[in-house]
Amino acid sequence: MVTWNIILQAVGFGLVTAAIVGIGSMGFTLQFGVTNILNISYGNILTVGAFAALLAQQAHLGLVVTIIAAPVAGAVATWILARTVFAAFARRHGGAFDLILVTLACSLIIQFSIDAAAQGQSFSFSFPVGSTVHIGPFVFTVLSLGLIATAAVVLGLLMAALHLTRMGKALRALSTDPKLARACGVPMRKILDLTWLVSGALAGLAGLVYVTNSLTVDAGAGLNFLVLVIAAALLGGAGSPIGAVLAALVVGIATEVVAAIGGSYYSQAAGLAILAVVLVARPTARTWGGTVRDEVTV
C-alpha cells in the first residue's frame, strides 16, 4: 500500500537523486551549450570517474585522494578525447550529427574497454555514510546531505564563474554565437580547453557521487545514468546550469516517486517521459524555421 509517508520518503530520495543528476547535467549542459556536441560518451566519463575513485580506494590512498581522483580522471579523459578524436572529426566534417556518431563510437570503445578490464564484474565501493538526520518529514544521512550541499556549491561556483568573471562572459559569448565571439577576439582555444576540463571534472565528480550513493559500480553504470543526465540537461536548456539543476529536481523527484509507486525499472522510463514532453514542448529543440546551429566548436 502506497502511503503519503512512502511518497514523502521518495521525495527525500528524489532530492538526493536530483543532487547527483544535477552535478552531471551541469557539466553536460555546459559542454553541449558551448561546443554543440551532444556527447554520448559523457556517460562513460562518469564511469571513468567512478572507477578512478574505486581504484584509489582499493589502493588505500585515503579518502581525500579517492574524492579528488574522480574529477581529475574525468577532466583528463574528456580533454584528451576532445583534443584528439573530436577535434579530428570536427575539422573534417563539422556537422553536429556526424559528431554524435563519433561520440557513440567513443562510448562503445570506453564502455567495453572498462568492461574488459573489469572482467564484466560489478564492484562494491564503501564510503562513510554518517548518522541519519531528521529534517521535517524527510530522513537523510549525513552523506546525502553532503551530496546536496556539493551540488549547491558546484552550482554557486559555476554561476559565479559564468556571470562574474571575464572568462565566464567570454564563454557565454562563445556559446551564444561562436563566429561573432571569435571575431571579437575571444580566446577560443583557452575557453574551449576550460570547457572540456570543467565539464569533464563535473562528469567525474558525478561518477563519484553516483557511486557513493549506489555503492556498487560496473562498466554500464554511467551510460544508464546518462538517461537522467541528458533528460535534465535538455529540459533545463543547453548552457544553463541553473536550468539543469531545476530540471534535475523535477527528474530526480519524479523518478523516485515513480519507483516508490510502481517498480524501480519504470523510474527511468519516467525520466524519458518527462524528456519526451519537454522536447515536444520546447521550441529550441525543434526545427521550426530551419535556424538550427549545426556547426560544432571543438
Partner: protein, 326 residues
Amino acid sequence: MSYYLSTVAIYFGVDLLAAWGLNMQFGWAGVPNFAFIIFQAIGAYVTAVLTLGPDTGANSYQHYVLGMQLPFPLPLLAAAAAGGVLSLVIGIIAMARLRRDYQAAVFLLIALIATQVVSGDVGLFNGSNGLAGVPQPLAGTLSSLSLSEYQWAYAGFVAVVCVITLLFLRRLGRSGWQRALRASRDDEAAAGALGLNVAALRLQVFVLGGAIAGLSGGLLVSFITAWSPGGWGYAETFAILTGIILGGVANNWGIFLGTFLVQIVFVEVPSFLPEFGYPGLIDKLEWILIGFMWLTVLLLRPRGIIPERRYKAGIDAAPQRNVSRV
C-alpha cells in the same frame, strides 16, 4: 561443418534484413534510429509468445503475456506487425520535428530504457532470463529431415525472404516516394517548400523499417529458439549500423557487402581463434574493435565502400517516371 555454415548463412540473412530495414530509415530518410534493435526484439518476443503456447504446464517455469500457439507463418507476420506498430508509437513521440542530434539521443535513451523495463518486469517476457524453448517452425511436419537438412531448409527460407525484400526495396528505390524521402533528407527546408510533408514521409519509412526489423527478429528467434535482454543491448544497433556505414549508406549492395564483412570479421574469425583470457573477453574486444572500425570508416571513407548512387534530375538526366506520384 555443414551445420556451422548453415548457421552462419541464417545469421547473415537475418542481419541483412535488419540492415536493409535500418538503412531505409537511416540511409534514405536520415532518421538516426539508434533504438533499431528494440524493433527486432519486439518481433522476436511476439513470435516467441505466439508459438510457445500458454505459460502453464510445460512452460510454467517462465512467465510471459499473450501465450498462444499459432501455425507457422502467422507468428512471423505478427512479428512484422508488432515492429510496425511499435515504430508508429515511438516514431510519433520521438520524431515530432526534433533536431536530428536530439532525435539520436532520444532513440538511444529509448533503447536503454526498453532494456531496463523488459529485464525488470518479469511478467512481460520473463525478465532478464528471457524466453526459452521456442518451437522451430514446421519442426513436426519436417521431422523426416536431419538436423543439417532442416537448417539448410530454414536458411533457404530466410534467403527467399531476403530476395523478396530486396525486390521490394528495389521497386521502392525507383519510386517517387523514395525520391521525396531523399529530398527531405538532403534539404528539409527545400523539400517542405516544394510541398512535401516531411514528417509524414519519415513516419511512413520509420514504420516500414520497423516492420522489417520485427520480421528479422521473428526469423531469428524461430531459429535460435531463445531470446533474452542480453541479446539486444543498445550496442547491437551499432553492429548493424557498422555494416551499413562500412558498405555504403543508402546502397543495397553496399550494405550487403558491409554486413557480410562485419559478419565474417565478427562472427567467423573469433570462432576460429583459440580461446584466450576469461570467458567473454573476446566478445568485449569485438565491440571495442567495432568502435575503432566505425571511427576509421567515418574518418577515411565516410560514404562507405560502395557509395550511394548519384542521382540526376532535369534535362541531362534520363526521363524520370512517376514524378507526379509524390
